[in-house]
Amino acid sequence: MSNVTVTVNGKSHTVDVAPETLLVELIREKLRLTGTHVGCDTSQCGACVVHVDGVAVKSCTMLAMTADGASVTTIEGLANGSALHPMQEAFREHHGLQCGFCTPGMIMSAVDIVNRKGSDLDEHTIRDELEGNICRCTGYHNIVKAVAAGAKAMKGGAKPARAAE
């Protein structure tokens, strides 16, 4: 066992972990932040996506120890107090979720897409960029709409417009 110090959602934690402990286990089991989900064991589904030093990472593929000294943002840390992040707001507004299980990973990936690709995203780009996130419920139609709207809102700093349909 050894100590790992990570800042998660702005709060520093020093945790004793076994060397094989995964970042997702640290987040879910040690810190009890259960918004980050586990949907597979082959790094395919993206339910576990968090940001490590501002970059999207599948937390089931990263050892907790390698996050030592890093700053991690999980879905619980995305909103600014009670003000939702524009991407969270867009998922609700455009009905981009049903059972909600893929949603934290989807939203964290979506924010990362905007960070990397800018806020003017066409459908094709969004669909390609969501390659690593599986949703079984929505058929992606509304997720794509939500990501596009959330991206625009992130740029404007404004709330996403109410969906036309």
Binding site: D41, L97, G100, T138, Y140, H141
Partner: protein, 787 residues
């Protein structure tokens, strides 16, 4: 229409917790002192268990216990059952083999549990599981349903000779044979409805806790129907009396049918928790889910359609072999029979239908209901036959359908169902307009200019939802009634709790049910909350599957609301010194007819509880009513999906160029949520048609056992969909709702395969139509099925 009432696209109330990561799924729950469970599973598809040696594992660090099938049998824990009795042609009952939660003497599929390890941490449990030594006597196995009943095939259950569970039939054989004898044209197809893995994104999980002082058990599990789970685990497994067993299904991350069933792991968790007197937590990993979740579909079918000289369909004959897997899962027997053959008339007036279904055991995971359950299989048979028949006869597939549509209602089919309402012409016409059918030829020519093939395919589907009335399903063999319950609890301050026997695992009941109440009582939607999924809080209910929560679950709420309104009127009457009969209720206000005397909702609810305006002899205090609602018929959602594809003949890559869905779901509570259900259903149907297929090798190893080998639909595999509706209200429930949860998955595979076969000019394109399959077809490498 109010902004939050019936028909409004109200944004979902449940989303706040899901988008902020504060949902509460079973695996998020942790009980003090819990042990983690890990199962030792068979690597063989079929083997006797000679010996299970747990000694080494028991000594491993952190291990609290290692339990086997022998321990389970010693403790007299019963096996799992299938709750729908099917009778074979000769009148004999179906042959159900035993299904112990942990195998004691024989394993019948890869992944069958042979022991469970309980340890302080998951890692310790997993490590110790590797130290459990099992001595197997490997037996030959059979995985192909078409070979399961053959002479010399390995015998899986002693009670089922030739692995035959039942050979069942429906319809009039003589009349159907006569229709074929006089037919002008006969279209024949051999169809394999490919085996699917439901793969809800949340893997199954179970946490069990034993309360010694009260000798009571609590189970948190990923269930679509917690009361049914409690009933089965109590009455059939014999775990504990119903009142000593609480089942809580908290947030559930998708189900699609696979979380209806009662599974071995939840039985084992309960039993183990009581044995070791500590909470036990089991969370499936995805690989385990592939092996142990009930799979869907897996039919081998030969089907024939008889057509007369006027291009009228006169008969349909179907023979299907249905793979049930190694054990009969909870509702497995009903899926290829009463949920399948009863829908073989499709949207068409077919005078004679005869269907035979052989259900067989194989050394594969159990097969049970998966989104649509039987109805996608039926729709695929009918819609492929009709499309191919039109092509063979040189007719426009839309016009051939139209000519044969049922046009007057009620319509009695030859396979039990009485269609109550519909307008199949309307949905077909609207869908053709939306996809611009008349210009398809131009688009095809344009594609051809670029060396691409273009095809268009229809699917005019019908399904039966609600899965009720209870008396009717009982007469067909169901072991349960299929009504639904509701309780409406109005608080003194006027806020309302709806306790429903339905269960939401993505459907948005917390919103739609609240919309109904808001609309009916004229109260703000924020003052209504929906309680579900806990057998200690909610009265017995049947759960959510078969697109039944709107038509059946909400109808129960309507009935309870009727009673609430009647009583509230009486309270208002006492408050205003008028007779309850003279009170009108509208928009949350009670008015004495013909006067301007009125009282508001909150006044009345408070007065119902303080009871100062009436005596106990005049009226009972309080405002809480319950109802059990049993429908008078199934509901019959129907509609038309049209797929248009473009295929690159060089690579076999199929691109879905357009998708139009026009569905008739009757009245709609929340169009946003309904559209979402349609999108998700289409995606699963497209998955079946183009991507997904569970495949076992001849040794019974699942070769598609992870997301690396099993192709789940990704965002880039799908287009945006054009979704619209037509409306004929359902006459058999008070809201006129038909149900929308399964339609997309039912309609879409046939539409897509019809489009692909149209593009390549060959009928023999099996599902999933992967690029290599389509490439072969496009190159003319696959022979025409009709030949």
């Amino acid at each position: 229409m109010s902004a939050t009432g019936i028909g409004a696209a109200v944004r979902r109330k449940e989303d706040q917790r899901f988008i902020t990561g504060t949902g509460n799924y079973t695996s998020d729950i942790s009980r003090p002192g819990e042990l983690r469970a890990y199962f030792v599973r068979s690597p063989h598809a079929h083997a006797t268990i000679k010996k299970v040696d747990t000694k080494a594992a028991e000594k491993m660090p952190g291990v609290a216990a290692v339990l086997t099938g022998a321990d389970l049998a010693n403790d007299k824990i019963g096996g799992l059952i299938c709750g729908w009795a099917i009778t074979s042609k000769d009148g004999t009952p179906m042959k159900m083999g035993a299904h112990p939660a942990i195998a004691a003497d024989k394993v019948r599929c890869v992944g069958d549990a042979v022991a469970v390890v309980l340890a302080e941490t998951l890692r310790q449990a997993r490590d110790a599981a590797e130290a459990v030594e099992v001595d197997y006597g490997v037996l030959p196995s059979v995985v192909d349903p078409a070979k399961a009943a053959a002479k010399g095939a390995p015998q899986i259950h002693d009670v089922a000779p030739n692995n035959m569970i039942y050979d069942w039939h429906l319809g009039d054989k003589a009349a159907t044979d006569a229709a074929f004898a006089s037919a002008k044209h006969v279209t024949k197809l051999d169809i394999i409805n490919n085996r699917l893995v439901p793969n809800a994104m949340e893997p199954r999980a179970a946490i069990a806790e034993y309360d010694q002082g009260n000798d009571a058990l609590t189970l948190w599990n990923t269930s679509q129907n917690p009361h049914v789970a409690r009933l089965v685990i109590s009455a059939f497994v014999g775990m504990a009396p119903e009142h000593k067993l609480r089942v809580i299904a908290p947030d559930v991350g998708g189900g699609f049918g696979s979380k209806i069933f009662i599974y071995p792991e939840e039985v084992v968790a309960l039993w183990a928790a009581r044995r070791v007197k500590r909470p036990v937590k089991w969370v499936s990993d995805r690989s385990e889910a592939f092996l142990t979740d009930a799979h869907g579909r897996d039919h081998v079918t030969h089907a024939e359609l008889a057509i007369d000289a006027n291009n009228k369909i006169t008969g349909l004959r179907v023979h299907t072999i249905a793979n049930i897997g190694a054990y009969m899962s909870t509702f497995s027997s009903s899926v290829p029979t009463y949920l399948y053959a009863t829908l073989l008339s499709g949207q068409y007036a077919i005078p004679a239908i005869y269907a035979e279904v052989d259900a067989v055991y194989t050394n594969t995971a159990p097969v049970d209901a998966y989104r649509g359950a039987g109805r996608p299989e039926a729709t695929f048979v009918v819609e492929r036959l009709v499309e191919v028949a039109a092509r063979e006869l040189g007719l426009d597939p839309a016009e051939f359908r139209r000519k044969n549509f049922v046009k007057s209602f009620p319509h009695q089919t030859p396979v039990i169902m009485t269609y109550d309402a519909g307008d199949y012409d309307a949905s077909l016409t609207k869908a053709m307009d939306l996809i611009d059918y008349k210009n398809f030829g131009k688009r095809k020519a344009e594609s051809e200019k670029h060396g691409k093939l273009r095809g268009i395919g229809f699917s005019t589907y019908i399904e039966a939802c609600g899965i009720a009335p209870s008396q009717a399903v009982g007469s067909l063999g169901a072991g349960v009634g299929l009504w639904e319950s509701a309780e409406v609890r109005v608080n003194p301050t006027g806020s309302i709790e709806i306790l429903t026997g339905s269960h939401s695992h993505g459907q948005g009941h917390e919103t739609t049910f609240a919309q109904l109440v808001s609309d009916r009582l004229g109260v703000p939607i924020e003052t209504v909350s929906v309680v579900h999924g806990d057998t200690d809080k909610v009265q017995f209910g049947m759960g959510t599957y078969g697109s039944r929560s709107g038509a059946v679950g909400m109808s129960a709420i309507v009935k309870a609301l009727d009673k609430i309104e009647a009583k509230a009127k009486k309270v208002a009457g006492y408050m205003m010194e008028a007779s309850g009969d003279d009170i009108e209720f509208k928009d949350g206000k009670f008015t004495v007819k013909g006067t301007d005397k009125s009282v508001g909702w909150g006044d009345v609810t408070l007065n119902a509880y303080i009871a100062h305006k009436f005596t106990g002899g005049q009226l009972e205090p309080g405002l809480k009513e319950g109802a059990f609602y049993d429908p008078t018929n199934f509901t019959f959602p129907a509609g038309c999906h049209i797929a248009e594809v473009e295929i690159d003949p060089e690579t076999g890559k199929t691109t879905i160029a357009k998708w139009v869905a026009v569905d008739d779901f009757g009245n709609i509570i929340n169009p946003m949520i309904v559209e979402g259900q349609v999108h998700g259903g289409i995606a699963q149907g497209v998955g079946q048609a183009m991507l997904e297929g569970a495949s076992y090798n001849s040794d019974g190893q699942l070769v598609t056992g992870s997301f690396m080998d099993y192709a789940m639909p990704r965002a880039a595999d799908l287009p945006s969909f054009k979704v619209d509706t037509t409306v004929t209200p359902c006459p058999s429930n008070p809201l006129g709702i038909k149900g929308c949860g399964e339609a997309g998955a039912i309609a879409s595979p046939a539409a897509l395969i019809n489009a692909i076969t149209n593009a390549v000019g060959h009928e023999n394109v099996p599902m999933p139509a992967t690029p290599s399959t389509v490439w072969k077809a496009a190159q003319g490498g696959m022979k025409k099925a009709a030949e």
